[in-house]
């Protein structure tokens, strides 16, 4: 990929990702409402919310917190840009983690106990989700011989065939990342949460909008991750992603929120079985059946 293409891809991501994620969130809210036998909000509701938040009064609980939030947004965007220009998968994963850490620091900067507990839980969620993300990078490497996203998506063969465990693990982790029930520990899209809004409790108005925006960038990036598994067949990819997202909504609407211990344990077990298991099998196969 040459420089012009890279710049174009980056710009496209920066502009199109929020639009796409906002629409996705709108669809999500409508489908959720229908699953609850309600009519639900209009499709463009997430955008109304976002723009409204930007117009609200700025109340600063702590200026440092807001600085950290900008870090969250920036590093999430950097991760996304790195991914969509076909860069290094490891940089993507660590930039994403760095963004989340900034978010956590921002929440710690405010004095509220709800915000602190939310931040602690966000860290636990990071602990639960990072191993799988890193493992998936290794999976891609073993399967394709490269960490470069560009190399991975220009492969002619369908990666899902050899990395089904990785895919399943990533879907599992996606539930955590999308803040869907049963894993909506740190904060939730719904109000009712024992720690109020958890990590976002102390942020209001435009700052809350920044969090929402960063979350949208993150969503598209993670869906991009899943896209890699189906890269040669775009239509299949879109279908699979739609199915995955629908499953996430369904899980959100059919599960209670679980304890953080359970989340941590189950995601590590899942990572170990599906992710690591897949990797071991892959190694075995790549050596022609000899360990």
């Amino acid at each position: 990929m040459n420089l012009t293409h890279a710049i174009l891809a980056a710009l496209l991501y920066i502009v199109a990702a929020p639009v796409l994620a906002g629409l996705l969130a709108g669809v999500d809210r409508i489908i959720s409402a229908r699953m609850q036998a309600r009519i639900g909000p209009p499709l463009l509701q997430p955008f109304y919310d976002l723009f409204k938040l930007f117009q609200k009064e700025r109340i600063a609980v702590n200026k440092t917190g807001h600085f950290f939030l900008l870090g969250y947004l920036l590093f999430t965007i950097i991760a996304g840009v790195e991914f969509f220009i076909g860069g290094d998968l490891l940089i993507v994963i660590f930039a994403l983690a760095l963004g989340s850490v900034f978010f956590v620091l921002g929440a710690f900067a405010a004095g509220s106990p709800y915000s602190h507990i939310g931040a602690e839980r966000e860290l636990i969620q990071l602990m639960a989700s990072e191993p799988m993300l890193i493992l998936s990078a290794m999976g891609f490497y073993v399967a394709t011989g490269s960490f470069q996203v560009h190399d991975i998506w220009s492969r002619p063969d369908l990666l899902i065939v050899i990395l089904p465990g990785m895919f399943a693990g990533l879907v599992y982790v996606l539930t955590i990342k999308l803040r869907k029930s049963p894993f909506d520990l740190a904060t939730s899209h719904h109000a009712h949460q024992e720690i109020v809004k958890g990590i976002t409790t102390e942020f209001s108005g435009p700052y809350l909008a920044v969090i929402e925006l960063a979350h949208w960038y993150e969503t598209i990036l993670l869906l991009g991750f899943l896209y890699l598994f189906f890269a040669p067949w775009p239509w299949l990819a879109v279908l699979a992603l739609a199915a995955v997202y629908f499953l996430e909504i369904l899980a959100d609407n059919t599960n209670a929120r679980l304890y953080w211990q359970w989340v941590l344990r189950s995601s590590w077990i899942f990572t170990a079985v599906a992710g690591a298991g897949n990797l071991v099998v892959l190694y075995y196969l790549s050596r022609g059946g000899t360990p």
Partner: protein
């Protein structure tokens, strides 16, 4: 005990493909019932300004002014209990099924009553109030 681990999934999917249970309120209104307690209305022609509703109202929402010949109700104090309807001796008060709309400023709903009270009664106000109120329990429990 039978196990249905995916029961909620079934409910959610069923809901997804059914018509939502929502009554889209401002456009469509759920029918009210004959018994529904909404708001108090008065047939002013029948009112004799007897003050019973004024005395009996548990929140003091109704204010009857005999000399000024008005019957007034503070909608923001009325609890729709319908006690005034029960005690009204002339049955001129009634309970409408529709509720009163939200407002942004407090105001009394004042109704002019054509009835002219007989002149001697309103002269000593405490004396006039007591005889008017005493027949109330009988009137209410016919």
């Amino acid at each position: 005990m039978t196990k249905h681990p995916l029961k909620m999934t079934k409910v959610a999917l069923e809901n997804l493909f059914q018509k939502p249970a929502t009554v889209p309120y401002p456009a469509v209104r759920k029918p009210v019932y004959a018994a529904t307690r909404g708001r108090i209305a008065i047939e002013e022609a029948k009112c004799i300004l007897c003050l019973i509703c004024d005395k009996k109202c548990p929140t003091g929402a109704i204010k009857v002014d005999r000399p000024g010949k008005t019957w007034a109700i503070d909608r923001l104090l009325c609890i729709q209990c319908g006690y005034c309807v029960e005690v009204c001796p002339k049955k001129c008060l009634g309970m409408e099924n529709l509720y009163s709309p939200p407002v942004s400023a407090k105001a009394m709903d004042v109704v002019n009553v054509p009835f002219t009270p007989p002149p001697p009664k309103p002269k000593p106000p405490p004396a006039s109030a007591t005889p008017a109120a005493t027949p109330a329990p009988e009137a209410g429990k016919e």
